[in-house]
């Protein structure tokens, strides 16, 4: 069966654009520190954009008359960031987020490409739904949207979805994220089939029984707070099963939102064996631990839950040594009514598109835990590689998807000012250093601070 990834993202000219290039259709980004992990560039460079493509990257480019010039001294010029784990809530929960508002949130956060998960209402489990998402995105989203389609019908883990048809409609991966396929036979067949279709399987790893009904990590804090816990073992057991099946089927699997040291150990071992296993971690799992739940703050409630400090450190170490390839937000918008309730009743999930850059810069890069280049790679080249999409690189001839970050900019997180429809951020009120200030998609400025 032939495997072709169509360029299904339609042109953006349908969207009104206030800030476009100069008269000659060119935009010159001057004097920024260009960091492109794929090619190893990390130095002061000029970048010339012509229409929707990158025309030239050179130490010094003379601007011709008519070219619009942006002076980016002191700023970082990186490939348009890619968030491969976002929940856009459309169709079904447009009160929480739409493809348009999610796209705007992405642009504001510096992301030029996002992959959206399938657990909408109705779910993205047919080619028609994939086409719907792509069509809505081309009409309303300022950034590129890559649908992740369901692995099983209704994400119920029983009957396989039409994975080839989904791929042909434009899905870049399959995932029942939100759910874990408890039936290992179904999980195995999904992997085999997806491998045939050439798509990676993104796995939300959580044992269906251990910790059922839990609302936070099981440990000292759940004991002190009197809340039912989800033990780390729930994730570790599920990751173990996925890796064993990946070995059997030789499928490409990607472990979503890793939160435990046990999972990191298993993934490290799987990579040593040469298995096609990749993994991601969210900014909140890299920075927060279960202590954040004290006071019953529902903005600290998500799945997988914030874990012990020990687990958090192991996840950070996993990112540092490359066991974890990708940083992805698991942006999960929820309306106020679903969060401003008793902890047990609150919905699981936090938003993240507009805080990822700030959190990563402040707590990983600036603290010397991760090099800037590693951090950028985890947000660009790595997710692009997992999804096999044309993104995450600054190179001649590539689409002009570029993010400019001001590494010195200090700002306070105020979710009320976010482009996202939702406000459920665990970083509300925090002061961060580092923010995206300019986002360019296909040569057009879609966000400017």
């Amino acid at each position: 069966m032939s495997v072709r990834k169509k360029n299904l993202f339609q042109n953006l000219s349908a969207l009104p654009s206030k800030n476009s290039c100069g008269e000659d259709g060119k935009l010159l980004l001057r004097n920024g520190r260009v960091i492109d992990p794929s090619s190893g560039i990390d130095s002061r460079m000029d970048v010339l954009i012509s229409k929707d493509k990158i025309e030239l990257i050179r130490e010094r480019i003379e601007a011709e008359g008519g070219t619009r010039v942006l002076e980016l001294e002191g700023k970082l010029v990186v490939p348009g960031l890619v968030d491969m784990h976002v929940h856009l809530r459309e169709p079904g929960r447009e009160d929480e987020e739409t493809i348009s508002s999610g796209g705007a949130a992405a642009a504001s956060g510096g992301f030029t490409s996002i992959a959206c998960m399938a657990n909408t209402q109705p779910p993205i489990d047919t080619s028609g739904m994939v086409r719907y998402v792509l069509e809505a995105a081309s009409r309303t989203s300022p950034v590129k949207v890559f649908p992740v389609a369901a692995a099983t019908v209704g994400l119920r883990g029983e009957q396989m979805a039409e994975i080839v048809d989904l791929r042909d409609a434009g899905a870049v991966a399959i995932s029942d994220d939100g759910n874990f396929t408890g039936n290992s036979e179904v999980a195995r067949r999904v992997m085999e089939y997806a491998r045939m279709a050439g798509l990676p399987v993104i796995s939300h790893c959580e044992d269906p029984y251990v910790g059922k009904g839990g609302v936070m990590n099981e440990g000292y804090w759940s004991t002190a707070l009197g809340l039912k816990g989800i033990p780390a073992a729930s994730e570790v057991a599920a990751v173990g099963r996925e890796i064993a099946l990946a070995e059997l089927t030789r499928a490409r699997i990607h472990i979503a939102h890793v939160s435990t040291g046990g999972a990191v150990d298993l993934i490290r071992q799987a990579k040593r064996k040469g298995l096609a296993v990749t993994a991601e971690a969210t900014p909140h799992h890299l920075v927060l631990s279960d202590e954040a739940v004290s006071g019953y703050d529902t903005n600290a409630k998500m799945n997988p839950p914030l874990r012990s400090e020990e687990d958090r450190r192991a996840v950070v170490e996993g990112l540092r040594d490359g066991t974890i390839d990708v940083i992805a937000s698991d942006h999960a918008p929820h309306c106020e009514e679903e969060k401003d309730v008793e902890f047990d009743e609150a919905a699981f999930g936090v938003i993240g598109l507009e805080t990822t850059v700030g959190v990563v810069m402040t707590f990983l890069v600036n603290k010397g835990v991760l090099s800037l280049s590693q951090a950028i790679a985890a947000l660009t080249a790595a997710p692009s590689s997992v999804l096999d999409i044309k993104a995450g690189r600054i190179a001649r001839g590539q689409a002009a998807d570029i993010t400019v970050i001001d590494p010195q900019l200090e700002w306070t997180v105020d979710p009320c000012s976010f482009a996202s429809r939702s406000r459920n951020s665990p970083f509300k009120g925090w002061t961060l250093t580092g923010k995206s200030v300019l986002t360019i998609v296909d040569g057009k400025i879609v966000y400017q601070a």
């Binding site: 759940s222 004991t223 002190a224 009197g226 809340l227 309730v341 902890f343």
Partner: protein, 311 residues
């Protein structure tokens, strides 16, 4: 307790604050022994009891405490209320507060529900039991009872036996007792022992005889009958064999040991018939003390001047 709006748990209180409640409860206990056991201390104050979970003891105890203080009381139980129409907790509470309520006493199945309310309500919130988290007035009355008999808490060996994992009574007792210098040991099957409990500063064992050795106080918790149908316990029979407090087992404890139970009891399961009704049992005194302790809590949170304290 001065300056506090709410009583959400014993974890938040200092040893001194706990002692203040106990001393105040002592005064109110004397009031309860009078022919007319009533004082005008909270006259004009309105207190709403919101019980979202079934309760006999605690609810009646609070109502009596409120009435003995001359407060006006209203009680709400979840069944047949707007909650069954889908009204959320916050709206229910706010609507009640809008009727000029001074204090809300709340029992709820979700841990943290009182904290959630306390954040959004101006009136005082008293936790009458939230999920598995805390039952501060029960902890206070348990400690008060121990103090009545033993005259002190410091240095005593207090053993709490039973389903520690799901017990708010256990947690409140642990916090309160540790702050006053007791040595606390929790005992129960590992399936009902919460992860990390030792980090609170208690001894942990699944050996009942080891736990009871030299104990000054044994606080026996109720085993919920549903646990035997779940994966947590094989049968209540096995639980009774391994952990049931019998006269024989009790001989390992001190000669003047106190046997306590928050109630309601499963006679023959966690506690033998002759222990529940025997010479060491102070279970009924706990109930009597409960009214005095709750009077103290209501009084101390009401913000009434110190001179109005009962003589």
């Amino acid at each position: 307790m001065t300056g506090r709006k709410d009583l959400l748990g014993l974890e938040d209180l200092s040893g001194k604050e706990i002692e203040l409640v106990l001393d105040t409860a002592r005064s109110f206990k004397e009031v309860l022994e009078r022919p007319i056991p009533k004082v005008p201390t909270l006259r004009g104050k309105t207190i709403a009891n919101l019980f979202f979970e079934p309760s006999t003891r605690t609810r009646i105890s609070f109502e009596l405490a409120e009435k003995r203080l001359s407060a006006d009381t209203v009680s709400f139980t979840a069944a047949g209320s707007s909650v069954s129409k889908g009204e959320n907790l916050k709206d229910t509470a706010r609507n009640i507060e809008a009727m000029q309520i001074d204090m809300i006493v709340i029992r709820h199945h979700s841990s943290g529900a009182p904290h959630f309310l306390a954040r959004s309500l101006k009136c005082s919130v008293i936790n009458a039991g939230d999920g598995m988290h805390e039952h501060p007035t029960q902890g206070l009355l348990d400690i008060f009872t121990i103090r009545e008999y033993k005259k002190r808490i410091e240095g005593l060996k207090v053993v709490i036996v039973g389903d520690i994992a799901h017990s708010r009574v256990a947690r409140s007792n642990i916090w309160g007792l540790l702050k006053l210098g007791a040595k606390v040991v929790v005992c129960g099957p590992w399936t009902l022992m919460p992860l990390g409990i030792e980090r609170l500063g208690v001894g942990v064992t699944s050996n009942i005889d080891e736990a009871l050795e030299g104990a000054d106080v044994v606080n026996v918790l109720r085993i919920q009958l549903e646990r035997q149908k779940s994966s947590l316990l094989p049968t209540l029979r096995e639980y009774a064999r391994c952990f049931g407090i019998t006269r024989e087992r009790l001989s390992a404890a001190k000669g003047d040991v106190l046997v306590m139970h928050p109630g309601p009891m499963n006679r023959g399961v966690e506690i033998a018939q002759d222990v529940a009704d025997g010479p060491f049992s102070v279970i009924l005194e706990q109930v009597t003390n409960g009214v005095a302790v709750r009077m103290a809590v209501l009084y101390l949170l009401s913000g009434i001047e110190a001179d109005d304290k009962p003589e």
